[in-house]
């Protein structure tokens, strides 16, 4: 399929716009000098991924992304930024790292592996019936994927206990 064929489909145009906005926002997240701007553009990138799920018809996953990532995770990032230092204008601390080039290389290779494995696994074949409804997702989570699901919840429990241990006051002192 040539690019002109591809671009005449309205869905592909929407996809292209969302994907470009997401990539742009993701670059700003790591490139900006202001940590609050980084959080704001991270919201844009995550909203883009929710929009892609809506395009696939997976509304449940899309709104879960909005609820969990945009509504809770990034808000907690912001909370952390606000109670430690809330830079206005240019940040006094440089948001940079000496190993930025190895990090970029790893990011690029992760992208390469993911893109290659996805295209190699599905090729051009159309997936007719996705896991769209909340019903299907619940069904799969508690039958085929029950062991990974339980493992993830165990890891989360461990993280929760760890958080409480770190945060509580030592009773001896």
């Amino acid at each position: 399929m040539s690019f002109t064929d591809w671009i005449t489909d309205a869905r592909n145009v929407v996809f292209l716009v969302i994907a470009l906005v997401m990539v742009g926002a993701a670059v700003v997240v790591v490139a900006t000098r202001n940590v609050v701007h980084a959080a704001l553009t991270l919201v844009v990138a995550l909203a883009g991924s929710a929009a892609l799920f809506v395009m696939l018809g997976a509304e449940f996953v899309a709104w879960t992304v909005v609820l969990v990532y945009i509504g809770a995770v990034v808000v907690l990032f912001l909370f952390g930024i606000m109670i430690t230092r809330a830079p206005i204008g240019r940040d006094s601390v440089r948001l940079d790292h000496v190993r930025r080039w190895p990090a970029a290389l790893i990011a690029a290779s992760v992208f390469g592996v993911m893109a290659w494995s996805t295209t190699a696994a599905f090729g051009g074949e159309e997936i007719s019936d996705g896991v769209l409804k909340a019903e299907n997702i619940g069904d799969l989570l508690f039958s085929r994927y029950v062991i990974p699901f339980e493992a993830v919840s165990f890891v989360l429990l461990a993280a929760l206990v760890g958080g409480i241990v770190l945060a509580r006051k030592d009773p001896d002192r």
Partner: protein, 371 residues
């Protein structure tokens, strides 16, 4: 006329446009009324008159105030972070308008051959959408506080994040029994049939039990409703949970540095959120638009309009509760707020969820040792 309406609503895009404009207009009118009602009620409770001059009983006072704010000079602090500062009031309005789109405000109306649902869109994950959208409201407050470049707004923003994150958890947990109960009603003993669609949840509350008591979910899920209402007051940043804009401590909280029309937008968003939360409570617990319409006694167009009247009447009863709380209760201290959220509401909603699930499963499938 009928043909024209039919043609408009047959076209998906035109129908969506008409509905969005209608929702926008409805929300603006409701807010204008709500601000006036609040001022009148609080004045009554404090033995004052409240607004009296603009229009009959001062009903046009909100319009006059809005016009005044529109024409006022907008002062922008020199240290403000301009882009985010300008965007924050708009960020406050967007989720407030979006939430209302999924709430059914009336019975589906049939004009000619087309059925018009009185709902912006009927998502099959409606309840999740409500939670997702209400979790976005905090951004406007945080960014307004941060971008003002001044200390009191920043403190207001920090308080807002902690408060809204805490009470969102309680609110989400309080709504799980609603989804469970709706699915139980819908599927009966068949597992794996459930619903999170708001129009379906309203329809499941039809009918009556013991002769005259309507089948609203609140009679089964009263603890959920109470937890939801407390969390809703905190989410809307209303007294007694208005620490975000506590004027005795923080000047004006997150909107201290906003003036003129940008301040009006924050004000509008606060009242929209209050109305939205009441409308959500009515939809989930008080049967939404359900109510007697007497189609055989009244002319057709009146009984077609009555569901909307019922919906608005129920919503305004809950809004009265919001205003009543504001006029009655003193503001909580910050540590009391956090204690109530994390040590009372969240454990209470978890305990209620477990209790409700066990009892429902027991009634549907019998005791665990019986089979």
């Amino acid at each position: 006329m009928t043909g024209f309406v039919e043609r408009v609503f047959d076209n998906v895009w035109l129908a969506a446009l008409v509905k969005v404009v209608a929702v926008f207009a409805l929300l603006l009118v409701v807010v204008i009324l709500l601000v006036w009602i609040e001022r009148k009620l609080v004045a009554d409770m404090q033995n004052r008159l409240g607004p009296m001059r603009a229009g009959p009983f001062g009903v046009l006072q909100t319009l006059a105030d809005g016009l005044k704010l529109l024409l006022k000079e907008s002062v922008i602090p020199r240290k403000a972070e301009l882009g985010v500062y300008m965007a924050a009031p708009i960020m406050a309005l967007i989720p407030a308008f979006l939430i209302f789109l999924v709430i059914p405000i009336g019975e589906p109306v049939t004009v000619g051959g087309t059925t018009i649902t009185l709902q912006g869109m009927d998502l099959n994950v409606g309840v999740l959408y409500l939670l997702a959208m209400s979790s976005l409201a905090v951004y406007a407050i945080v960014f307004a506080g941060w971008a003002s470049g001044s200390k009191y707004p920043l403190l207001g923003g920090v308080r807002a994040t902690a408060q809204m994150i805490s009470y969102e958890a309680a609110m989400g947990l309080a709504l799980v029994p609603v989804v469970l109960f709706a699915s139980h009603r819908l599927g009966g003993e068949v597992p794996l049939i459930g619903t999170m669609s708001l129009s379906q949840i309203v329809e499941l509350q039809q009918g009556a039990f013991r002769g005259f008591v309507p089948g609203w979910f609140v009679f089964w899920l009263a603890p959920s409703f109470i937890i939801f209402m407390i969390a809703a007051v905190a989410e809307a940043n209303r007294a007694p949970f208005d620490l975000v804009e506590a004027e005795t401590e923080l000047v004006g909280g997150f909107h201290t540095e906003y003036s003129g029309f940008r301040f009006a937008l924050f004000f509008l968003a606060e009242y929209l959120n209050m109305f939205n939360l009441s409308a959500i409570a009515v939809t989930l617990f008080f049967g939404g638009w359900l109510g007697p319409t007497w189609p055989e006694v009244l002319p057709g167009w009146i009984s077609a309009l009555l569901p909307i009247v019922w919906f608005l009447a129920k919503t305004f009863v809950l809004l009265f509760v919001f205003i009543w709380l504001r006029a009655t209760l003193p503001r909580l201290r910050y540590d009391q707020l956090m204690n109530l959220g994390w040590k009372r509401l969240i454990p209470a909603s978890l305990a209620w969820l477990v209790l409700f699930t066990v009892v429902t499963a027991w009634r549907a499938w019998g005791a665990p040792w019986s089979s």
